[in-house]
């Protein structure tokens, strides 16, 4: 599903080139649950952003579902965001101006799903995450764990093939964290490919493969 070949990412300062990623090679098959680990500044989030088309590699080749990503036009990337990729973040990134229902509904609107269908799909999600009663609340009225649940609901409501999670439990206490991880595991079991960035060894274990980055290199894979 994802093939990274010799990916570099660097920033040029006046007399110096700073590498964030260097020579990263990676193959991820459909249905995998991959955890990316590593110390701060190792390039974990950058790697995730490149995979999610939020950033571009400085050099190297990236194939997504067999298509070379560097040749993708803006429009195609938008299409991938609409139908193939879901995101969750440490800071949840819910839209403050929208309530729970509307937050979950937004990606469906962009995909052009009809209103009736949308209603059914959002209702399904609310049901699944036990949030029916909270559908009219705004993010600021929810706890961190609840916000992350909404974020996950929003990420998966369109049944993406790939879910990218950037430290999804970083802002949560352990109990909530565990609940989220279990949920991700369940989604993976249902067939969704998941790539998560995490600091926690424990959480990394939920995945079936761990990739450790250090200073931009892939240090080990197991």
């Amino acid at each position: 599903m994802i093939q990274l070949k010799n990916i570099d990412k660097y920033y040029d300062a006046k007399f110096q080139r700073t590498f964030v990623l260097k020579g990263v090679n990676l193959d991820i098959e459909q249905g995998e649950f991959v955890s990316i680990m590593g110390p701060s500044g190792a390039g974990k989030s950058t790697l995730l952003n490149i995979i999610g088309f939020l950033d571009e590699p400085s050099q190297g080749e990236y194939l997504f579902l067999g298509d070379p990503a560097n040749q993708l036009k803006e429009k195609q990337k938008v299409q991938y965001h609409r139908s193939h990729i879901g995101f969750i973040f440490q800071a949840f990134h819910l839209i403050d101006e929208m309530n729970v229902y509307e937050n979950i509904e937004t990606p469906l609107v962009y995909r052009g799903v009809k209103s009736k269908e949308r209603k059914a799909m959002v209702a399904d999600m609310l049901d699944r995450f036990n949030m029916v009663a909270k559908k009219d609340l705004f993010p600021s009225q929810l706890s961190g764990g609840q916000q992350q649940l909404v974020a996950i609901a929003r990420a998966i409501v369109g049944s993406p093939k790939l879910l990218l999670a950037d430290e999804p439990t970083g802002n949560l206490h352990s109990e909530q964290g565990e609940m989220i991880m279990k949920l991700l595991k369940k989604l993976n079991d249902e067939g969704m490919t998941i790539i998560q960035v995490t600091h926690s060894k424990e959480n990394a274990q939920y995945g079936n493969r761990i990739i450790t980055l250090k200073d931009g290199y892939v240090k080990e894979e197991n």
Binding site: D55, V78, E97, M98, V109
Partner: protein, 802 residues
Amino acid sequence: MIVKVVVRNLIKRPFLHLVKVIGLSLALVGILFITLFLKNELSYDSYHTNAENIYRYTITDPDFLGGKHFARMINPGYVPELKEQIPEITNFVRLRPVSGGVMKFNNRFYTINQAFECDSTFFQFFEAELRVGNKETILENPASMVVAESFAGKVFGNENPIGKILTIPTGQFYGEEQSFTINGVMKDFPSNSHFHPDFIATPVQDRFTYGWAWTYLALAENANPDNVRAGIHNFLVERTDTETQEMDSRVYLQKLTDIHLHSNKLREIEANGNIRNIYVLAIAALILLLISISNYANLNIGMAGFSAKYLFVNKLLGSSKRQIIRYFFTEGLFIAMATLMLALLVVPPVNAIIQRGYQLNLLAGNLSLAFIVFLVFILLSVSFGMLPVLKPVFSAIKGVRNNSKTNQKQGGINRGILVFQYAFSIALIISVIVISRQTNFAFKSGMGVEEDNVIVFESVHASIQQKFETLKEELLKYNSIQSVSAMMEPPGGEANDMFEFELEGYTPDEQNEQYERIGVFPCDYSFASLFNLSFLSGTNFTKNNLDNEGSGEYIINEAAMKRLNYSNAEEIVGKEFKLNFEQLETTGIKLSRGKIIGVVKDFHLSSLKKEVEPLVLFKRDKLWLINFIVAFQPGKKMEALADMKTVWTLLFPEYPFQYESVGSMYQKVYKAELLQAKLLSVFTFIALFICSMGLFGLALIVTQQRTKEIGVRKVNGARVTEIIQLLNRDFIRWVVLAFVFACPVAWFAMDKWLENFAYKISLSWWIFVLAGILAVGIALLTVSFQSWKAATQNPVEALRYE
């Protein structure tokens, strides 16, 4: 969905959005009224069907009144002949001012502001809607009159005026009584006409052979005015039997539509506008547009950060560029609608105020133009308000990491706009100070304005003139009255008459012998004392208005002293002097030989735009003393007016008691400048208000963005004053930079503007400093509130945001 988010966002930050709306609506209302006013000014006289082919004919002649350029012609009796001789002239009309100032009906007198005796071709030149009567035939006969609707109402009330007889009583300059039959009623001339007569009438008998008349010629389509001018010149050469090279009269043809803005001749029918004012206003409107839109854009740029997260997340969820544009566009539309609504609320009362103050209903008949102005303004502000936001937004959501760079760039644009806005505002403040000071200086230099205790009975009727001495005597019996005098020209008027003269020991310039004339000013003996003229040498007139041959008394002004080649006032006093009045034989008027008895400092009878002309004051009894002046004891205005009314009604029961303060007379002289000063003050206020609101908004945004920094600094021991200083310093620096840009521009513009005046204030350095201090002060006040709020926040609160 976008709409919902936009609305919630607007509600979330009501103040900042209100700032946008208020700024835009104020500017919109300002621009709307400037546009309407400019349209009114630029459309003067263009509504006449044949306006393009109508020209006003004037002449200058160095032999006649010093070659001054008058808007009207002397003795235009030959004009019909001109039409016969020059085929390109298809028609003519002459307008002779009706002298006397009053009309009689049923033994009552009614004041007229303006009226003409004219040729029967009047309606072939000037469009006027007739309420009653037929344009083709209405002026066919002599002594036919058409009255304006408002004047008819004043004289006849609800009665039908047709067939009634109105009489010009025996007038000034020995005019005889003349009666006219009212044949029609016309609608009042619109505000954009260069004249507004109470009535027009064909004369009882020929009135154009001698005397003054404004003269208009209609030229054939495609006729070349230059050829016509040459034709008229040749005609005059033949008529006066002079050689072409000796003919020094110059012929002018001025387009009817140019009169209002491009004519500044003597004796215009009404005070005209000025094309410079049009430029000033147009520039003011443009500045207002730029300031308001840039302010809007600036706030948008500053606030774009607030939407950044929304846009970023949307991007993740698959929104396209178009949807982002739609988001900002929807937000812009909401602001635009609110702006429109607020503007619509403000427009009617502003229009009413203008109508009350200037008798101008700018909105009437201009609704479509107003609609266009609204539409263009909204389109401009929405698009230009949105554009600068989109680029940084796109780049911000494209790369997650590059935020700091785009932030820096945004800050640069923000500050650039801020400097630009403040530079304009400071330049405006300087202009307002200079224009107000100069206008004030000019106004206060008017005779008797400063004391504010002088009133004028302007252009009183001949029979009242005859009783001046009695009036003076009666008035002076009252304690409330200080002094009474009379003069030929009212304060603010033009003293244009020039006589030949003889002065002991003065040899006329041989080459220009025939031009040796000097300005004259007949007045009552207490003229100099009433107006506190200061004597450089010599004495005031003795107390009577009659001079015997040999004992004539003449007072000259400083300019006349220099004109007569003296530099020391002492030396010219006592010299023998005589004025020669050419029409001695026809009128029997004689001016006695006498002496120069005093030299007074130059005084400003007319506008400060003109140099003070050499003037000889002489006293006359019962002749040419057309304007009466009364000075009352300061602080006793009401009492004095009551006393004056008593005397007036006793002496002249049939004439209306009508007076004006010198202040209001000079206000007419400086009408354009006063209006300009007022308008500019309003614009400056609006511009400053918009800038301050913008600055306030920016300060709010910046302090919000720096909340964490402020918290950290406080935790590390910074005092509140230090934080305020830190936040303020940045803004003040930019205002100071704006000041540096504004000063030379303002100096240049104001130097040019002051060139309009012969007597002017100096562009002192303190005006600039004051404007700078004002701008910095306002900026400080605006920003400090935000800074103080941010600085006094509990640092724990501040840090929690992160």
